[in-house]
Symmetry: C2
DNA sequence: GGCGGACGTTTAATCGTTTAAACAAATTTA
DNA sequence: TAAATTTGTTTAAACGATTAAACGTCCGCC
């Protein structure tokens, strides 16, 4: 890699000190520098194709203009769309993004956060896995700017941007009930993550509010790694009850997608008699032979607000804000 | 952000020079350092929760252990899966990934490459948009390690990892013909990108080799930004010919997905009489009411080989390698 | 008893910037 | 005309690491 030109190269070419070059190129000391010298410096910089070394700059200023992003899995559309939005917003505000996937593992998440911090990111946007609360507390204690997205820890007061999962779930299930569904099952993750618990709570409250007493089997829990077999099993339980469910709520689009595959291969007799509702969008919902309604998270708002909130913390605003966005219920019916 | 501990802090705590601390913590000069001092240093590092400042280290060593990744759009599953594979492989080899999306824009790609280089990445993995050939030539001239993935420029000799698109396309179309299809249309991008041209070439050769003379209208070109209306229009042309096509090849999963939506909403009379074949996978293919075969790119191989090849270049191996991977044809038929 | 080597550690330069402070020369002010 | 100010530029330290070279000490050896 051919040696890049540095301030010093420009300085010696023009015959001035590096300080002056730095001032000119950064537009400081506006009034003080003579027009001619400034022009000479700028021309030389152009000719030598100068680009500042961010490492050196950051080392000196202790600002990297970089934010770290920890998602569950960048290959999951939810994460990658969020990442894209954050990338764009960060770019707009002069920041670069470094990312990593935690795979819902507390250990990986910790490693990632350390790696990102060693690279001196100015702040972090984190979608924390279960069990990462200590890491978050640590960050808070150390005064590192960070914002949680999509998930939060109820007993940690810090910046977070989430949807109101309890409300969204409640409204979704209410909708099913108003449409005449009486036996509503749910397949969701067996996880301590509060936002997932909130979905369960909302579901339960909607049923209770309508005097429906759900038998235990209506709630099926599966592992967070989206094991197909597990999800298929959950489906078969729900559909083979003495009184089978007439609607199912899925805790995520991944679960929904596996469940649809189950329905597809097992050609359930009358799929129009089974209402389906998922959290998060998926392209496959458009093509399934029965309509799938879903709770749509406002990803754009989430990503942008998270980025802006983080930057305001980086730039010194203090406080902590728990933002609750409202999710839309997208209804698909034939 | 509370001041992090530096080598100096450890040095002064233990009462030695920073050099010694550096040697110990990096495991250099194995034999020379006294066990006790080494232990004291390690203990102090532990107690002070020391983490090296990568900026400083990189500035001195001129190695950042970071690679830059330029994809078309990280929110596109093709990109994000590739990104994930590269992330994992890079991590395994001690590297971090910084990414950016070019949106198929030559200008954005140039900006991105500059931004990544200013951050002193050790090398780049690039999925270049059309018109980026000059940028690539530039990189080559400057001796910056880089590897192209998925795409290449035929008149630039440099490292690249792609599938053999011409062959894949040829085989796919041959397959359709062997299955009795006679009137095979194609919807693909109006782009100079060579790998897309290769797909067209393979398609043409398969037809020619079977004495099929495609009328111009069989080949429908659409813009690279996947405009729905354009794709729907292309579909309507193909299906409303005096002699409509009996099979369609889609240049990408995005095109396929829009086309399927068209078929879905326009309830084409006999979809089983229309064979569909796409490049790249998509979850929606599983749920469409007619089978969609597809050319499956070996993403894992692509990502891993790209990463490894890049690292070997970074570490000094010279030469340039154009790797052609073989894609699988996944056949779905009812 | 002087010399050479091993041992354990320190010195000091360096990477490419930024930036407060110092400086000399020109200009204004009193 | 001396003092004060402005103007344009330089000096030099700093950021936090790495690393070749230098430095004492102690030891053994002839």
């Amino acid at each position: 890699m051919q040696k890049k030109t540095s301030l010093k190269d420009i300085a010696s070419k023009v015959g001035v000190s590096t300080a002056l070059v730095s001032y000119v190129l950064n537009g400081r000391m506006e009034g003080r520098i003579s027009k001619e010298v400034a022009k000479k410096i700028r021309d030389a910089a152009e000719k030598l194709n100068y680009h500042p070394n961010h490492l050196a700059r950051s080392l000196k200023t202790s600002r990297t203009n970089t934010i770290g992003l920890v998602v569950a899995d960048i290959s999951n559309p939810f994460s990658s769309m969020l990442a894209r939005i954050i990338e764009d917003e960060a770019d707009r505000l002069g920041y670069t993004v470094i990312f990593g996937s935690s795979d819902e593992s507390e250990v990986k998440s910790a490693k990632l956060i350390t790696a990102l911090r060693n690279r001196q990111v100015d702040g972090l946007i984190i979608c924390p896995p279960a069990g990462a609360d200590d890491q978050v507390r640590q960050l808070k204690k150390q005064g590192i700017p960070f914002v949680l997205v999509d998930r939060y820890f109820p007993d940690i007061s810090c910046d977070s941007i989430c949807i109101d999962n309890e409300q969204a779930s409640f409204r979704a299930v209410e909708h099913l009930i108003r449409c005449g569904r009486q036996r509503i099952g749910m397949i969701t993750y067996d996880s301590a993550l509060q936002h997932l618990q909130d979905r369960i709570t909302g579901y339960g409250q909607a049923l209770a509010g309508n005097n429906i007493k759900p038998p235990d089997q209506w709630k099926q829990l599966v592992g967070i790694h989206n094991d197909q077999a597990e999800i298929h099993h959950a489906m078969s339980v729900l559909l083979n009850l003495k009184k089978p469910v007439d609607a199912i709520v899925f805790g995520s689009n991944r679960i929904a997608s596996s469940a649809l595959k189950y329905l597809d291969t097992n050609r359930v007799k009358n799929p129009s008699d089974l209402w389906l509702l998922s959290f998060d969008q998926s392209e496959v919902f458009d093509f399934f032979h029965a309509p799938v309604s879903y709770v749509s998270q406002p990803l754009m708002e989430m990503g942008q607000q998270a980025t802006r909130l983080l930057l305001s913390r980086i730039n010194g605003t203090v406080g902590s804000e728990r933002v609750l966005l409202t999710a839309d219920l997208i209804i698909r019916q034939s």
